[in-house]
Every structure is written in structure tokens, then in C-alpha cells.
């Protein structure tokens, strides 16, 4: 009997996520969100509770999507584990050098968080650990395959890849060019292969210096 909602919650969260990815939590105004989602202020408030809560929802979605993306990229067995990681890192290089001004909500939350027990800090931390777990799984397979030395520390390597990815995101935001980012990704991968310098060279598509 109650009046039904005119919106789909997940769609609203998606739109909000877009806004937050561009502006961040503090800089995004409620009006930005109202405009982007199409809902009225009060409806937003009824459904989510406020700007911060909405951000938290968007953050969860962001985390889920990131985890899913990495899981998929590393999960297919169309290639060896190491090749999958390679493909994934190269894809990230391309993504992070796209010109849109988006920043992952994980990074945004981390930077805007006010304390270690702030959900803005704990959620990203959990996300990072989950992501690292996904990498670790793939790396473990590689180790079992003999593609990685038996004494490889799969755990720390997993966090290493998360760190590199985060760093590449920031460099991309700074406007560092695609070729550099790709080279960085290939450098990062060399940790897994020992010394194979040639690869880094053959891949870089548009020269090693940044556009300017």
C-alpha cells in the first residue's frame, strides 16, 4: 500500500559514486548529488541518511567492483597466472592514464579519513587486504606451477602489487603519460621474472617521455 519509490537504489549509488570519484567527499555538495541522481534532497536523506552515509555506500560499491575486476582478471585460466597479472597491470596502466579526473573512492576515503577507526579508513584497509588476498591467490598458483621460486613471499608480493597500483593511479592523476605508466607496470612485473629488461622496451607504445 505504501507509495513506491521512483528510483532504484543501486542506480542512485552509482551516480553518487561518479560524483564522489570526481570531487571527493568534502568537495561534493549535496546539490551535486541531487543533480546527478535526480532525487530530491529529502529522498536522498530518507533512503541513505546523509552525504557521508551515501559516500560509504558508494565506497562499498567501489570496493566490490575493484575486487571483482581483479578477481576476474586474475581468475580466468586462459593464461598462466603470471601472464594474467601482467595483463592486468598493463590494463591498469591504460586505465590510470585516461584523461577523466576520476580517483578511486578507496584512495579518496583514505586521504579524507580523519582517524584509523574512521570507516573512511577501515573500509579501504579491508579492501586493500581483500585485494591483496586476490593477488596472493594468483601468485600462489604461480608458485605451485614453478613460475615463482619456492621461497617467494607471496603475501608481501601481493601487497606490493596493491601498492604499485595505487602509485600508478596517483601518477596518472598527475598527468604522467600512458607510455611511462606502461613502462612502470612492466618494471613492476620484473620482480616476478628476475631480470628481463627487453620486455619493458618492446611494450612501451608511444615513447618513454611524458606528453607535454
Amino acid at each position: 500500500m505504501p507509495r513506491p519509490r521512483k528510483f532504484v537504489e543501486s542506480e542512485v549509488v552509482s551516480s553518487a559514486r561518479e560524483v564522489f570519484a570526481v570531487h571527493g567527499l568534502a568537495a561534493a555538495t549535496l546539490d551535486d548529488l541531487v543533480r546527478a541522481t535526480g532525487l530530491g534532497k529529502q529522498s536522498l536523506y530518507n533512503a541513505f541518511g546523509g552525504k557521508r552515509e551515501l559516500f560509504l555506500r558508494a565506497l562499498s560499491e567501489d570496493r566490490e567492483e575493484a575486487t571483482r575486476a581483479v578477481s576476474e582478471a586474475l581468475g580466468h585460466d586462459d593464461a598462466s597466472p603470471l601472464e594474467r597479472i601482467r595483463g592486468h597491470m598493463l590494463l591498469m596502466a591504460i586505465e590510470f592514464s585516461s584523461s577523466d579526473r576520476r580517483v578511486s573512492l578507496t584512495t579518496r576515503a583514505l586521504v579524507e579519513s580523519t582517524g584509523e577507526d574512521d570507516p573512511l579508513s577501515t573500509t579501504p584497509k579491508a579492501g586493500i587486504e581483500q585485494l591483496a588476498g586476490t593477488y596472493a591467490q594468483c601468485l600462489e598458483h604461480a608458485r605451485e606451477n614453478g613460475d615463482l621460486p619456492a621461497d617467494a613471499n607471496v603475501q608481501s608480493l601481493a601487497f606490493y602489487f596493491v601498492a604499485v597500483t595505487r602509485g600508478m593511479e596517483l601518477l596518472g592523476r598527475a598527468g604522467v603519460g600512458r607510455s611511462v605508466l606502461t613502462a612502470v607496470a612492466l618494471d613492476a612485473l620484473r620482480v616476478l621474472h628476475g631480470r628481463r629488461m627487453e620486455e619493458a622496451v618492446e611494450e612501451a607504445d608511444d615513447g618513454p617521455s611524458t606528453r607535454e
Copy 2:
């Protein structure tokens, strides 16, 4: 004959930098700055022009200090170039896992910037390139020493180290523990050495998993 200032500009910038490092540009209120610097609003305004301009000054200082720190760490010839980089990365691991809630203004500026031509974006970009230049110099020495293969791409490796450092900063902010960060740093360094797994293990001080 004019009335002299009661403050030293560089000290004010330093205090402001502290505030911005904790809160960021948007979230820092003018009152925070007034309290931290000891100046009145109007004095701040006279001397610098406003919050944003003050941030830009602090950002410059941040960039200079970062560059100087890396230059010094990589410049001494008390050790081989590669050993210097190693020492530096391990130091970063420790620094980034300290519990203070500071974030480099470079990272903050990048995240809060609104466009690629925004000084909040261009300054960090220049800083990153300058930093990469410093790394490149050190790596070049290593290459000349024969500590690096002749075909090593010193340029991209330099950006690689900047990226890893940035990533470690973010992980530290998320509360990832010192041992993990140290292990990450050591993993990152393996790019330079080929495959030497043992090092990563012997160095990690308090176990490879994060505290929780």
C-alpha cells in the same frame, strides 16, 4: 619606518603545512590556520592572499623538502648507488607506517585538484618529475658501475620508484603495518637485483602479516 612583521614567513608556512598535511586543503578551516600559525586572519591574508595561496606555498615547501630528502639520501657516496636506494626505500617504509595522520601535500594536492592545468596538479607533476630525475641520476650511476644491466631503462625505473613510494604512503595511511610495508619495499627493490628472495625474508622485522 614601517611597522615590522611579528612573524617569520617560513615558520608560518611550516605551521600551515602541518595543518594541511593533516586536514587537506578543503577540510582545513581558516581558523585552524590562524590557531596553528598564531597570526590573525587579516595578517595571513596580507602576507599570502588566502587559503589556497597559502596551501600553494606549503606545497612548494613540501616539494622542496621531499626533493632535498631524496637527493641527500641518494647523493652521499658512503655506499653504492643501489645500496643507497635500498636504504632510502626502507626508511620510507618506516616513515609511512608511523602513526601520525599526515599525508604529503603532493598527494593531497593531486587528489584535491580540479583540472590538469590546476596548480594543484601541475606542481605535483613537476615535483614527481623532479623526483624521478633524482632517482634516475642515482640509477644511472649504478648502471655505469655495472650494478645494473646496460640495457636497463633508467628513466622508467625512476618513475617506478616514485610510484611505489606513493603507493606505500597510501598503504601506510590505511594502517598497513610496518612489517608489510618493509616487505613491500624490499620486493620493490628486487627489480634492481634480479631474483634474490632471501633478503625480503631476513629483513622483515615483525612478521609478514598486518597487526589486527
